[in-house]
Structure formats: structure tokens, C-alpha cells
């Protein structure tokens, strides 16, 4: 057994950063630096984690048979690190204005990322479960952290109760899988499931319950009920983490489970996931049409994206896994750009309503452009990240033989354009005084222009560049995704 603790250095550094942030917040009186230090410590910890994680990218090793350190883990470590840095820098102004318990806030984000990292690397059921709970517990606290907003507490309550139900279901499923597979190690389960006879019934029941549990984490319909409420009630940066880190970690776990231990019994779960994918993209897109709150709109839009991503799980192979990882990267960049834009907008205007965005193209053209690019990329417009990665994802699913599912996904993508354009219309067609473009007379009072804080400007510009670069030159990300997928199937 390989007990080389240096394999886990990235996670240790991240957890250490969490503890240091908590201590720095407790002793901020003695340190005389106030709370200025906390975001810097967080960013520093996340950067160290990302750098050490990327440095281990060429390794193929395993810690005690429970945690794999390979290209797949490295891919997700870098994704999580980038997400954390972006969210912390981009929401600096928001946090200092709206969140009283900053030490706890940054600590919870760091611990959530540790949990996500363990979900991505786990090669054993217990490790994966502890990772899930570390991620979930941190997010339960983070969602209900806005003490001045009563929606936050309600969102936290709904999230924690439904989350408890989901994790109990997942655990029951895992216990049945453990019974049928005879082990908690992914490798052993895969070996034993190739000729499972007596325990067919418990195995199928266990698989369904595991799918329900991870489907809850990834917010697939019909396990999505918590998503819109938690997204709307949570503070904006936490919503960004929910839609990025939490979702990516859920898919990392799904990929590890369904490409390894559950692959021998693919016939038992393929149809279930296909139905899940179908209902997720239909329900997500259709309910998104009638949203008026931007956070809720983005919640349903992210549910719809999960539906597309699940298609790649249905046709599980190294090609579709690579396409899924690529789309995950493109989705994260795009989604973070939109969220950081919304945070910058909220800092100025204190509103989350879509109608509040009216005339943004007049008052802050740069932010309006970034938001428009992000939303168009989410819907899959060419030249932007969302188109390229989605195209490769759909292609992988189609060549896997699920053409009917892909056809539906294309139709749903077209429908999604409607609600993204609704937001863009508010920014570009409606003028700041509320009148609409074609009929408007010359505006009587010219609206003041406003600009974002320097940190927001930096993050939003970088993410905008990211959307365009991934859209036009996808090769580096595709190579990384390819390596990760290959490591996944080799292990």
C-alpha cells in the first residue's frame, strides 16, 4: 500500500489555508490588519493548491488505494482553484459590503473546495462520501450566511433538509452496492460486478438510489427542487460556487463512478440516466422561460446545462468523457463570467431583477457586452466558448448512438436562446429611462455612466477573454480534457 502523504499536499495546503483564515479572522484585533488580509490569504491558498495540483498532473499514482493522483484529478484541481480565485477576487467588494461573517465565509469556500477535490480524486466509496459531505456541509453554512436577508435562512433550511434526505438515499444505495460488489474500492467493485448473480435486485435498487443521490448534487430533474431556492437565497458569490464548484465536483464523481465500478453493469443504468437527461433539459429550459429574478434564471439555465452534460454519461466512453470535461471547462468560464458580471451590477444597483438591468448598454457598455457574451455563450452562439464545447459534446453523444436525445438537446438549446435574449433585450433595447429603442425620442436626461471596481473589472475582463479564447482556440483545453479522460479509463 502506498502511504506517500506528499500526494495529498494540494488538499492539505487548501485545508490549512481554511484554518489560517479562520484564525486570522478570530485574532484580527491583534493582527491590526482588520479583514483586509482574509481574501488575500484565501487567494494565496487557492493559488498554491492549483499550482501544486497542476504540477502533479503528469503523475499516475494512488494514495493507499483510496485517492488517485492523475491527469483527471489534476484537471479538476485546476478548475476548482481557478473558480475559487475568480470568485474571491470578483466578489471582494460584494463581501465587504454585504457579509458580516467574512472569516467564516472564506473558510467555508476553502473547505468546500477541499471536499470537491476529494470527490474528484476518490477511488473508494467512503472517501467519496466524506468528500461529498464536506462539500455539502460547507455549502449549507455558506448559503445561510447572509444574516440580514431572510431568504438566505429559508434557502439554507430547504437545502439542508433535502440534502440530508439525498445523502441518506445515496448512502443506502452505496450500502447495497457495497453488498453486491463486496468491497468499497472502485477497482474491486468493477471486478466483482462483472459476474454478479445472486444480488441482482439489491444491485439495481442500489444503482437507482446512487443515481438519485448524485443527481441531487448535480441538480438533475426530478431532484432539482432545492436548486432555484438555494440559488436565489444564497449570497451571490455562494451562488457562483454552487453553480461552478459543486456542479463540477458532482460530475467528477459521476464520471469516476460510472466509468469504473458501474461500467460492467452499464445496461442497468443507461436508460435511467437517459431519461434523467431528457427530463432535466426539458424542465430546466421550460421553467427558465418565466423567471424574473436573474439568480433564479441562472439556476434553471444551469439545470438545463446539466441535462446536456448527462448525455455524455449515457454514452460513456473515453470520447464522451473527454467531451464532457471540455464542456465543463467551457461552462465554468462562461457561467463565472455571467455571475461576476451580475455581482458587479449588484454592487452598483442592489437589484437582482432582470427588469433592473434596463439600459445597461447606455450606463456601462463594457459590463453589458460581457454579460451579453456570457449569456449568448451559455445558449451556444458560435465564436464563443459555449458553442465550441457544446458542439463537441453533442457530437460525442450523437456518435454514441443517442441521436434522438441530441435532437431534443438542439431544440432545447434554441428555446433557451429566448430567455437569454430576454435579458439582453433589457440591456440593449430598453433605455435607462424605461422607454424602448425604436419608439424612443432623444432621451431628455442623459444617464450617468458608472464603472466597476478595479477587482471586478479585472476578473470580468479576464473571463470575457476566456470565453472568446476558448471559443476560437479550444485546442489546449481539449488536450487537457483528453488526457484527463484517458487517465480516467486507464485507472
Amino acid at each position: 500500500m502506498n502511504l506517500d502523504y506528499s500526494l495529498l499536499v494540494p488538499e492539505f495546503l487548501l485545508a490549512l489555508a481554511g484554518v489560517v483564515v479562520l484564525l486570522a479572522d478570530t485574532f484580527r484585533g491583534e493582527l491590526k490588519s482588520g479583514r483586509q488580509l482574509l481574501p488575500w490569504l484565501t487567494v494565496f491558498g487557492a493559488a498554491l493548491y492549483g499550482a501544486t495540483g497542476a504540477a502533479a498532473g503528469s503523475m499516475t499514482s494512488e494514495f493507499a488505494g483510496i485517492f488517485a493522483v492523475d491527469a483527471f484529478t489534476a484537471f479538476f484541481r485546476v478548475l476548482f482553484a481557478v473558480t475559487l480565485v475568480v470568485v474571491v477576487v470578483g466578489s471582494h467588494e460584494y463581501v465587504s459590503k454585504n457579509i458580516r461573517h467574512q472569516g467564516e465565509f472564506y473558510t467555508m469556500l476553502l473547505f468546500a473546495t477541499v471536499g470537491a477535490s476529494f470527490m474528484a480524486g476518490a477511488r473508494e466509496l467512503l472517501t467519496a462520501y466524506v468528500g461529498i459531505e464536506l462539500l455539502s456541509f460547507s455549502l449549507y453554512v455558506a448559503v445561510s450566511l447572509a444574516k440580514s436577508d431572510s431568504r438566505s435562512g429559508e434557502a439554507g433550511l430547504k437545502y439542508v433538509l433535502l440534502g440530508g434526505l439525498a445523502s441518506a438515499t445515496l448512502l443506502y444505495g452505496l450500502s447495497l452496492v457495497y453488498g453486491a460488489g463486496g468491497s468499497t474500492s472502485y477497482v474491486e467493485i468493477a471486478k466483482n460486478l462483472e459476474h454478479v448473480e445472486g444480488l441482482r435486485m439489491p444491485l439495481v435498487l442500489g444503482l437507482v438510489m446512487v443515481i438519485a443521490g448524485v443527481g441531487f448534487k448535480a441538480s438533475a430533474v426530478p431532484f432539482h427542487m432545492w436548486t432555484p431556492d438555494a440559488y436565489e437565497g444564497a449570497p451571490l458569490p455562494v451562488t457562483a460556487i454552487l453553480s461552478a464548484t459543486s456542479k463540477a465536483a458532482a460530475f467528477a464523481l459521476i464520471l469516476r463512478l460510472f466509468s469504473g465500478p458501474f461500467l460492467p453493469v452499464i445496461g442497468e443504468w443507461r436508460t435511467t440516466i437517459a431519461i434523467l437527461s431528457l427530463s432535466t433539459m426539458v424542465v430546466g429550459n421550460l421553467i427558465a422561460l418565466q423567471q424574473t429574478n436573474i439568480k433564479r434564471l441562472l439556476a434553471y439555465s444551469s439545470i438545463a446545462q446539466v441535462g446536456y452534460m448527462l448525455m455524455a454519461v449515457v454514452t460513456m466512453s473515453d470520447v464522451s468523457a473527454s467531451a464532457l470535461l471540455l464542456h465543463m471547462g467551457g461552462y465554468l468560464v462562461t457561467n463565472l463570467a455571467v455571475f461576476m458580471g451580475v455581482i458587479a451590477f449588484y454592487n452598483h444597483s442592489n437589484t437582482e431583477e432582470i427588469s433592473g438591468l434596463h439600459g445597461l448598454a447606455e450606463t456601462n457598455p463594457f459590463l453589458a457586452m460581457v454579460l451579453a457574451a456570457g449569456l449568448l455563450s451559455l445558449s451556444g452562439m458560435p465564436l464563443l466558448a459555449g458553442f465550441t464545447t457544446k458542439f463537441i459534446l453533442f457530437q460525442a453523444a450523437a456518435s454514441g448512438g443517442y441521436l434522438w436525445l441530441v435532437t431534443l438537446a438542439v431544440i432545447m438549446s434554441t428555446i433557451s436562446l429566448f430567455y437569454y435574449l430576454k435579458v439582453i433585450r433589457q440591456m440593449y433595447v430598453v433605455l435607462p429611462d424605461g422607454s424602448q429603442l425604436p419608439y424612443a425620442t432623444e432621451p431628455s436626461v442623459r444617464q450617468e455612466r458608472w464603472s466597476m471596481s478595479p477587482s471586478s473589472t479585472l476578473v470580468v475582463s479576464v473571463l470575457f477573454l476566456g470565453i472568446v479564447v476558448v471559443g476560437l482556440y479550444v485546442a489546449p483545453l481539449a488536450v487537457a480534457a483528453d488526457n484527463a479522460a484517458r487517465a480516467l479509463f486507464k485507472a
Binding site: L126, S144, L161, S175, P228
Partner: protein
């Protein structure tokens, strides 16, 4: 002789009772108790499988210990959130927490 099936039926019944409790209860505290019932069913499953599959490999028992520990942490956390709701609205009933819809 008590067979593996006996344990599985017991845990299945316990799990179903817990699930029923989550669905019908209105108070957040009672829902938490029902979730605990479901987790107890999980522990029974793990220990039963561990002793019937391979008495020397006790991964299942360790899993059960982790489940108990994490469940305790979860209840502590959830009660904190319930307390906050109670302070704000003087009720811990989930059907009255309904400002967020659709």
C-alpha cells in the same frame, strides 16, 4: 439462524419509515429525526453486509462508524439553521417557509 435477508428487510422497513416521515412531517425537527432513521437503516445494512460477506475485512463496519459521526455533525448543523429560522419567524414548520417559489 438469522440470515442476511432478515437484516436487509429490517433496514428496508426502517428506511421506508424514515422516508415516509420526511414526506409527511411539517416540523423541521421531526424531519431531521426521520432522516436519522434512514441513516440508522444504512448503518444496519453496512454492518450486516460486512459480517456476512467477509468477516475479516471490516470496511463496512468502518463505514457505519463514519455514517454515525457524519450524521451527528449534520444534525448539529441543521439545528443551527432551524434555530435561525425560528428566531426570524417564530416557527420551525417547513410549509410556512415559503417566500421562495418557482
Amino acid at each position: 439462524m438469522i440470515s442476511l435477508t432478515h437484516y436487509l428487510v429490517l433496514s428496508g422497513v426502517l428506511f421506508a419509515l424514515g422516508f415516509y416521515g420526511v414526506l409527511v412531517r411539517r416540523s423541521a425537527i421531526l424531519i431531521l429525526i426521520a432522516v436519522e432513521l434512514m441513516l440508522a437503516a444504512v448503518s444496519i445494512n453496512f454492518v450486516a453486509f460486512a459480517s456476512y460477506l467477509d468477516a475479516k475485512l471490516f470496511t463496512g463496519v468502518i463505514f457505519a462508524i463514519f455514517v454515525i459521526t457524519i450524521a451527528a455533525a449534520e444534525v448539529g448543523l441543521a439545528l443551527g439553521i432551524v434555530l435561525r429560522i425560528y428566531r426570524e419567524r417564530s416557527t420551525a414548520n417547513v410549509d410556512e417557509a415559503s417566500t421562495l417559489k418557482w
